[in-house]
Symmetry: C2
Subunit: 219 residues, 2 copies
DNA sequence: AGCGCACATGAGAGGACTCTCATGGCCGTG
DNA sequence: CACGGCCATGAGAGTCCTCTCATGTGCGCT
C-alpha cells in the first residue's frame, strides 16, 4: 500500500527498519548508497524516504538538495547521529520533513512515518482501543473497564506495541527492539519484568504467554 | 490573524486560555454556553474552536454533532475532565480533531492548536533557535555553543517558553501557568529554582533577571 | 549608608522509574 | 513421574526528577 524507501548503508540498522516496516504492512525497499537513493526517490515509485545522512557515494544532504532541486516533493525523514544538532538543523532547512536522531526506537520512527503519510483532516490517531482496554497516546494513560491507570514511559511503549498488534504473538526480541531499541542487551529479561508490570496494572489475563514464542494481547 | 473561539464556562479556565492566546498573537473570543458556541462556530468567522464538554444550555457533544451535521469543517479541540476516557473517545468519534484532558498546561494546548492550524507541507516546527542556543522539541535536548545538554521535562518546558518569547520579560506568574499549569501554588519559588537549573546547564548569562518583573532570555 | 525586599542558592526529602539478579514454580516432554 | 527449560516474581540498587525550605546575598531606594 505505502511504498517506503530506506537509504541506509549500515546493514544492521537497515534491516531493523525493514523488518519493522514489513511487520506493519509496508513494503520497504532498501538502498545503500546516495546515488541509488536519489534515483529511486525521483522515480515516483515511493511515498516516503527514510534517508541516512552518512551515505557513501553521495551524502544525504546532497541527495536531499538534488531531490528538492528536481522538485521532488516526496516526504523525507533523515537519520542523524546523536548530538549532531547542526546536521539536523541543516537537514530540516535543506527540505527534510522530519528527522530521527540515532539511536532510536523503531516505534518512534513509525510514529514519524505515520504522521507524514497521514491524509488531510483524518483525526490524528490518539487513542488505541481493544475491548475494554484503551490507550491514550498523548497522556500516557490507559483505561481498563472504565478505571484509569497511569503507565510509566516504558510500560506505555510496551502496551502500545501490544495494542497495535492485537492477538499477534510478539517475541521477546521483537518487543525488545520495538520498545528498547536495537542497541539493547538481548540477554536481559526486562521484557518479562515489564510484562509483569503491565499485567499487574491492566489485569493478569490481558496478556497471554505463548510458551517458547513470546507474548500476545488477549483479544 | 488566526481567530480562535473558546467555548468554556469556567471563568478561570477561559481567562487562562484567553490570556495565553493573546500573548501568542491570536485574537480569541470567549463564549460560555453551547448555543452561542454553535452559532459562532458556524459563522465562518473562526479558524479553530476550543470546546469544553461540560457547557450549559447545550453540551459540547451536541455542539460538535450539530456542527458536523451542518458540514462545518472547522477544527475542534475538546476539553475533557481528567480520567473520562469515554468522553474523550466519544468526542473524537464525534468529529473532534483533538482533545485536552484537564487540567492542562497552556503550552500543551498551544502545541495542539499550532498543529491544527499548521498549513500543508510546512515542515513541522521541531527546533527552536536563538543565537547559539538550540532546542530540539522532540528529543528534549538543548545545545549551546555546540555542546549538547540533556534537560529534564520541566527544564525543557521552561526553556521552551523562553525560546518562544526571546527578549521578552516573563513574570513568575506567566511562567508558572505556562509550565506548571493554572492549578499550581502561586507562592512557590519553583520558577526561581528551575531558572537556576537552566542557567547552570545553558550558561549563567543566558537568562537575565529583571528585578521586580521576572526573567528574560538574553538575545 | 543602611534597610528591606527580591532573588540566589544549597541541601535534601520523597517519589517514580528502570533495570538486574536470584530464586521459585510450572509446563510439557520423554 | 521426573527432569529440564522457560517463565514468574520479589526485592532492591541506582538514578533521576521535582519540589520545598531555610538561609545567604545584593540591589535599589530613601
Amino acid at each position: 500500500m505505502n511504498r517506503i524507501l530506506i537509504a541506509e548503508d549500515e546493514r544492521r540498522i537497515a534491516s531493523f527498519i525493514e523488518k519493522g516496516l514489513k511487520a506493519h504492512g509496508f513494503t520497504p525497499t532498501v538502498v545503500d548508497d546516495g546515488a541509488a537513493a536519489l534515483g529511486h526517490a525521483l522515480s515516483g515509485d515511493f511515498d516516503l524516504v527514510v534517508l541516512d545522512i552518512g551515505l557513501p557515494r553521495m551524502d544525504g544532504f546532497t541527495v536531499l538538495r538534488r531531490l528538492r532541486e528536481a522538485k521532488g516533493a516526496i516526504p523525507v525523514i533523515i537519520l542523524t547521529a546523536r548530538g549532531s544538532v547542526s546536521d539536523t538543523v541543516a537537514g530540516l532547512e535543506g527540505g527534510a520533513d522530519d528527522y530521527m536522531p540515532k539511536p532510536f526506537r523503531f516505534d518512534e520512527l513509525m510514529a514519524r512515518i505515520r504522521l507524514r503519510l497521514r491524509t488531510e483532516r483524518s483525526p490524528e490517531m490518539t487513542m488505541l482501543q481493544q475491548g475494554t482496554l484503551t490507550l491514550d497516546l498523548r497522556t500516557r494513560r490507559a483505561s481498563v473497564e472504565g478505571r484509569t491507570v497511569d503507565l510509566s514511559a516504558r510500560e506505555f511503549a510496551l502496551a502500545e506495541v501490544f495494542l497495535r498488534n492485537p492477538g499477534q504473538v510478539l517475541s521477546r526480541g521483537q518487543l525488545l527492539s520495538h520498545v528498547w531499541g536495537y542497541d539493547f542487551d538481548p540477554e536481559s529479561n526486562v521484557v518479562d519484568v515489564y510484562v509483569r508490570y503491565l499485567r499487574k496494572k491492566l489485569g493478569q489475563a490481558r496478556i497471554e504467554t505463548v510458551r517458547g514464542m513470546g507474548y500476545r494481547l488477549a483479544t
